[in-house]
């Protein structure tokens, strides 16, 4: 072969075709994603159940939860030093230890968890005290309209209207997947708002303050919807979770 010929201009423009082909496949992938995603979820969901290494959990849509924290570091709280305060527009402000929360009647719910970024974990059990029970015990005043939640990570916050907070599927959760909630999942106690996107379910819950209006939480100040119903907010059409 002739070296002078084979270099430079004389060959076929395969590079450009590979480049454009990759772009085309990417666009096709976006169009076909809903179908592909369903296939992947069922495939990986099946595999993940029998995968002792846990590596499938690292694959996209491999199932399982992803860890999101907005704070640089989160202090650990144990049964010894955890406190949940209930205050604001209530007649009897008070704080609960973990043991006191555990002594209250527990409610167990098994529903899907849906994150606003797309991942969904099917059939996840949460167990804890109904938020409405804590609010009733505190005696909510007539001027109250909303509830604000603060967290011991020092940064995160959330809000619900009083009507939303009174729903039976809103818990102060102490257990998740039938285990005490570990630190990474927001333990020892987190909010669980079953019908809403998971950012409403604030981790590391430490404060419940009854207020006269909804004060947008951490992500809501960054553009997420305050009324975060699954399938009816944030422009998403996921199947409702509760």
């Amino acid at each position: 072969m002739n070296p002078e010929q084979s270099e430079d201009q004389s060959g076929r423009p395969i590079g450009r075709r590979v480049f454009l082909g990759t772009l085309g496949l990417g666009a096709l992938g976006v169009v076909a994603a809903p179908t592909l995603q369903r296939g992947m979820e069922s495939l990986l969901g099946g595999v993940a159940g029998q995968d002792p290494t846990g590596l499938t959990g690292l694959l996209p849509n491999g199932g399982g939860f992803r860890y999101y924290s907005v704070a640089a570091s989160v202090p650990h709280r144990t049964a010894a030093d955890y406190r949940l305060t209930v205050d604001g527009l209530v007649d009897h402000p008070r704080s609960y230890t973990l043991a006191e929360l555990r002594a209250l009647p527990q409610t167990r719910l098994v529903k899907d968890v849906q994150c606003v970024t797309g991942w969904r974990v099917p059939g996840t059990p949460f167990e804890g005290v109904r938020l409405s029970r804590l609010l009733d015990a505190a005696g909510v005043r007539s001027s109250a309209r909303a509830v604000r939640f603060t967290c011991f990570d020092g940064t995160y916050s959330e809000s619900l209207t009083l009507d939303q907070a009174g729903r039976p599927d809103v818990l102060v959760a102490l257990r998740m997947q039938d285990k005490d909630i570990g630190h990474d999942h927001g333990g020892p106690a987190r909010l669980y708002v079953a019908p809403m996107y998971f950012y409403k379910s604030a981790k590391w819950l430490s404060g419940i303050t009854v207020t006269d209006r909804v004060k947008p939480g951490y992500w809501e100040n960054l553009g997420y919807d305050v009324d975060a119903w699954v399938g009816r907010s944030n422009g998403r059409t996921d199947e409702p979770t509760s």
Binding site: S6, E7, G11, R16, F19, T22, L23, G26, V30
Partner: protein
Amino acid sequence: MSLRAETPAPPGARVHRFTRAERWVHRGTAALMGVCVVTAAFLYIPQLAVLVGRRELVVRVHQWAGVALPVPVLLGLASRAFRADLRFLNRFGPHDRVWLRAALRRDKRRSSRSAGKFNAGQKVYAAWIAGATLVMLGTGLMMWFTHVTPLMWRTSATFVHDWLALTIGVVLAGHIGMALGDPEARKGLRTGRVSGEWAQREHPLWRP
């Protein structure tokens, strides 16, 4: 080996391979890609995410590194040498077909791995990573500016972004692994010059 005998290079002679512009395009792209990969790992792998938290900051760094990723190549277009490289990378001659077929058969004989300034593997890699980068940029922008595109698209974009990220991670590891195995190729990108012997052996059809 016979090729070397035909055109003997003086021992120790250095051959000019890359200008300053070409080297900086590679460095800039590599650095930005590195930032994208590392921040992606911290966003994506739970064990790493647990270590750093600060999700909003990490997302911000990832986004800006991603948007800046094509910039070194675009700036490089001002360089005649870089534009010539793009032409070399684009055009596939008969020897490239032989090279690719040999690579598929794991045939490592020199005679079946003939190459010009870039071998066929490098050409395919360059074209693919350029396309993949733009797909990542497009899907990334759809996830970033959620109010510009319908949200249905955003979920789809996330899907493509996640899987392509994984693929790029694997391919990039291969790219880096091959560079680690070839110190003279790395020297070429660091200093701009390679040994005549290496050029003759790895890129016999290249006329510097």
